[in-house]
Symmetry: C2
Amino acid sequence: MRNDASHAALSDAEELGHEARAGREDHAMLRLWLRMLASTTQIEAEIRRRLRERFGISLARFDYMAQLYRYEEGLKMRVLSRYLMVTGGNVTGLTDELERDGLVGRAHSPDDRRSWIVSLTPKGRASFETMAKEHEQWILEMFSGLDMKTVRQMHAQLGQLRVHVMRSEPAGEEG
Amino acid sequence: MRNDASHAALSDAEELGHEARAGREDHAMLRLWLRMLASTTQIEAEIRRRLRERFGISLARFDYMAQLYRYEEGLKMRVLSRYLMVTGGNVTGLTDELERDGLVGRAHSPDDRRSWIVSLTPKGRASFETMAKEHEQWILEMFSGLDMKTVRQMHAQLGQLRVHVMRSEPAGEEG
DNA sequence: CTAAAATAGTTCAGGACTAAACAATTCAGG
DNA sequence: CCTGAATTGTTTAGTCCTGAACTATTTTAG
């Protein structure tokens, strides 16, 4: 992630650098978006940094393995690329890497000779489990400033937002 | 921004592709994080797409101009790079582009001969205003699924989260 | 059946960003 | 002062991803 983080608009200031835009009153939604973007970007950057430091892997690779971990029977590459919201070319590259490292394997799809079914090897599963445990601790630590009620509330609110956004732009693939 | 979007962990399913991880119970914080990341990534991708389509510019460029718009007197490049949470080299590149297009100008800093002060030209200000207006409409549209009370509540909750995260990792620069 | 359209995966050129090395300048401690 | 450390902006090599072109296969319409 990325990386960037702001957008902005008109007039007045506020407290924190990035989202320090978006005027008074009315611009409440814009301000919410800017803060949402800034928070997410920052946390994502930190996760990315730690994955690199602790395990020497990219976030993309972690996401890839996370997705496969859920599907023991494996996934077609195209499906995986939709879940990960990345292009097919990207999945090809990640698969090549992970296969080289013995963490995932390609198998022929019985019903479609064009496609592969990729799945974690035992080594891949073990490797992911180790990383996932630590990853979750990072999240718990970062979100520990929120009480459980707030956590559930935000989860629901983001759900509301997501449903609305997905409706207006059917671009959103995933199931 | 790119691009990726998930992370994950253990066990059970949920409803939407990406965040369709994170087991039952307890994993509430992890689930919140995954949903937050997925929502933000999706909206960001859409904003990026529209900026490209409507104005032919990158999000990075829009962010850059947004930041300068707030500071009529201009900013030192190093300060700008902190606000935007990107590297100095990136700011150098963006500045070169924008300067070529006549949207920003470099001026010598009177108190430090190493640094430049960059600011929007009149053309740059006008250009940004046009884009910012439309940009805000997009946000209003995307967030219109939330009532104002929810919007303010989420804004406050994210503020809480951000303060906590920034404390634990002084990596966060910006003021 | 068969031709045309759609789809799965791959390859490759290119865009955007980073991290690290660098020159110029400023700052800090003796 | 004045030398060493820190900081500003730039350059460069490298990473990671996209979009478009391509091959091989499957699906769809007639």
